[in-house]
Amino acid sequence: MTIRKLKLYSAAAALLAGLGVHAATAQTLNVAVPGNDMATLDPHRASATLDKNVINWMFNGLVRTAPGQFSLDTIEPDLAESWTISEDGLTWTFALRQDVSCQGDYGPLTAKDVVYSLKRAASPETSSYAGDYAAFEEITALDDHTVEIKLANAIPTVLGLLVPFNGGSIICEAAGEALGENFGRNPVGTGPFAFAEYQSQQYVRLIANEKYFRGAPQIKEILFRYLGSDSSRDLAFQSGEVDLVNGRFEESWLNRTAQLPDTTVQVLGPYELHQLHLNMSQPPLDDIRVRQAIAHAVDRAGLVAFRGEMLTREATSVIPSGYLGHEPQDLPEYDPEKARALLAEAGYPDGIDLKTVQTTLPAMLTTMEVVQAQLAEAGIRLNFELVDHPTFHAQIREDLSQVVYYGAARLPVADIFLTQFFDSRSIVQTPTAVTNFSHCDVGDADITAARTELDPEKQKALWADAQRKIVEALCAVPLYEMGQPYAWNNKVQFAYPLAGSLNLSPMIDETTRLAN
């Protein structure tokens, strides 16, 4: 190579390098999530995790879980400074902070805005969570900074419905009215970050809300990017184009990412509970011995070893641990011999065949393949009907699967999980159906009584009874709990320990820093 050519090549390389990698300013936090696009950023409408992830940084509730925490035991004031409860527990009065402004030019937040927002959350016309607020009989502004909520009957958690999650996120009336149907594309809240821009299939850009009542955020901009390809999302994190990434549900991802320099890897809560729902309405699963056989054939420890011990832990009940009212249960031990004996006793010495509608979503399919192999040891043959994910959701609700493998996290109160999965009113293919795939009804009385029980201890006892009965009847076989894998560059500095967040993204607020 001649000197001249060498010079030419070096110049070209320098030019390309100069053009090269995005050098994001220190003030911009780049976040990447798996997914293609945003659906809506209206907190009362949004149901997709990706949408909730970004809503998390824009809104406040009357109360909130402590920063970095998701347990309802940590509830503390947010927009409300304090609150009082009437003796019958049915009237709640909230005194609001007086220094809160709506983002943009929508003025100060007053009690009128809170009333508007909660009524909006309670209306099926404007909210996907209207059902949660059915007991909110009257919501009134007593003065500019006092809100009163009257309940028709006691409900398991009032404060849980007033944290900035789903319907609890407070929207300013002027913005809600001015933007109407377009609110989901131009959300306006009171939180540390304000919506600035949305680029279809690319990103949502948030900017610091300099008027935030707890102080102006130190991070000035958040680029929330939709990067659908797992591999290139990892590469973007590796190249430094992304500071905070929502990872893959794989132990190997956690291990590999933890090897990168200056990187923190953490599994955040709340944990999803994965279980097998057994359709008790039809043979052979209507026989308790067959369900017991399945429960004894499942090796929970083996599943946790397969999915990884950083990401998952063994399930302990039919609701996730850490939920208000969760009570660990004695789950059937792994014993394939006993499983075979039970099957023989039930009249199936040659084993049984069960139809399972199964999604092809890789993380769920691989787990079920392991379960299939475990059950086969005991002579229980799971015959998969493999379908894409939307078809899976449709067919399990049409009662077409004898065994339904489902993973879920909910507002961390026992009532919601128990009601949706085990209350007979939620049985699929009924007018009030939700996700009771097993046709379970053994916990009905306790679940109903707990819902309106005012004494917290009695309420917990009722929930514990419901869990015990559901486990004994084996409506479902709990498998494991799985958290949210996240990784971030150590430039991102959180001011408090992170356990997780209800909206499944780490809380980024006025205290979060981006070091140079």
Partner: protein, 313 residues
């Protein structure tokens, strides 16, 4: 020629109508509907029923079809069932990104494939021919998501010449080129392989013709013979492949768009299919059909430019 174009456009309308009808019914036969996506998996049967009523999914399918056709004729493609945003707006938002990517890929594909094919043909059964054939076979066999990751690893992670996120945000020319180069190269690889192989075989055939031998005999240089006499005559099959392939490129862009994190039609259609977003899928099918029909028409017209013997009746 005008009559030819008009007649072809007439056929296009019939094709569009047939595709629309087919798509309308096929996506509704698929199990699953958008309501669970919109309301989330905690929705009760009641709220799902309410929503089905609100967005009209409870009406008889023929009525939905008539209403849809009526809207389509008035230019109203409806709003996305999932996001509530106008379908046409969503498509037009991302269409330029896909067109830009495919156009650049097309140029790169031809720019790489044509010379390689000629080079292989004139060096038939010698080392350059073998090398070209093996490389083009590799190009044909490597799926876009594998070649894409390899390109990213080499050029974005090791050499750091290009960004991993080619999101097409830059407004200046350099920025645009930087965002576009790797994805376009990735998309162009398969096309270049096709073009190479077709050019090679077409050129070999032309080179065996009498007039080429005559040109050689009168003493013209090898380069002049190939470029001035043979090239234009070997282009007809190449134009056919390029035309056919443009439609395929637009369809194939989905993997490249996802791997390189670019917005585009491919990402939109995958999302719409996963969410059973009927209105969006319908709108997208119209766009895809239109593109394929127009590209085919353009290909037919290019024949005339390349070969004066082609006449349009």
């Amino acid at each position: 020629m005008l009559g030819f174009v008009l007649r072809r456009l007439g056929f296009a309308v019939v094709t569009l109508f047939a595709v629309l009808t087919l798509v309308f019914f096929v996506i509704r036969v698929l199990p699953g509907d958008p309501t669970v996506v919109i309301l989330g998996d905690q929705a009760s049967a009641q709220s799902i029923a309410l929503l089905r009523e609100r967005i009209g999914l409870d009406r008889p399918i023929w009525l939905q079809y008539v209403q849809f056709l009526g809207g389509a004729l008035r230019g109203d493609w409806g709003t996305s069932l999932v996001s509530g945003r106008p379908v046409i707006g969503e498509i037009l938002n991302v269409l330029p990104h896909t067109l830009e990517l495919t156009a650049f890929a097309l140029v790169l594909g031809v720019a790489m494939g044509l010379p390689a094919g000629i080079w292989a043909a004139v060096n038939r059964n010698r080392i350059p021919d073998y090398v070209t054939r093996i490389v083009s076979l590799l190009g044909l066999s490597a799926p876009a998501f594998v070649s894409g990751i390899v390109l990213l690893l080499v050029f974005a992670i090791v050499l750091r010449w290009f960004p991993v996120i080619s999101s097409g945000q830059s407004t200046d020319l350099w920025g645009k080129l930087r965002d576009l180069t790797l994805p376009a190269l990735n998309l162009a690889l398969i096309m270049a392989a096709y073009v190479t192989r077709v050019t090679r075989s077409s050129m070999l055939e032309v080179l065996s013709q009498d007039y080429v031998r005559t040109a050689m005999a009168k003493g013209a240089s090898g380069t002049a013979v190939v470029l001035r006499h043979a090239l234009r005559n070997c282009l007809i099959p190449v134009v056919t492949v390029v035309g056919l392939y443009l439609g395929i490129l637009i369809g194939n862009s989905v993997l490249t768009e996802i791997v390189f994190n670019r917005p585009g039609l491919g990402k939109l259609i995958v999302g719409a299919l996963n969410q059973r977003d009927y209105t969006m899928l319908q709108g997208m099918m119209v766009i895809y059909t239109l593109i394929v029909v127009l590209v085919n028409l353009a290909t037919d017209l290019v024949y005339g430019l390349v070969d004066p013997r082609v006449q349009y009746k």
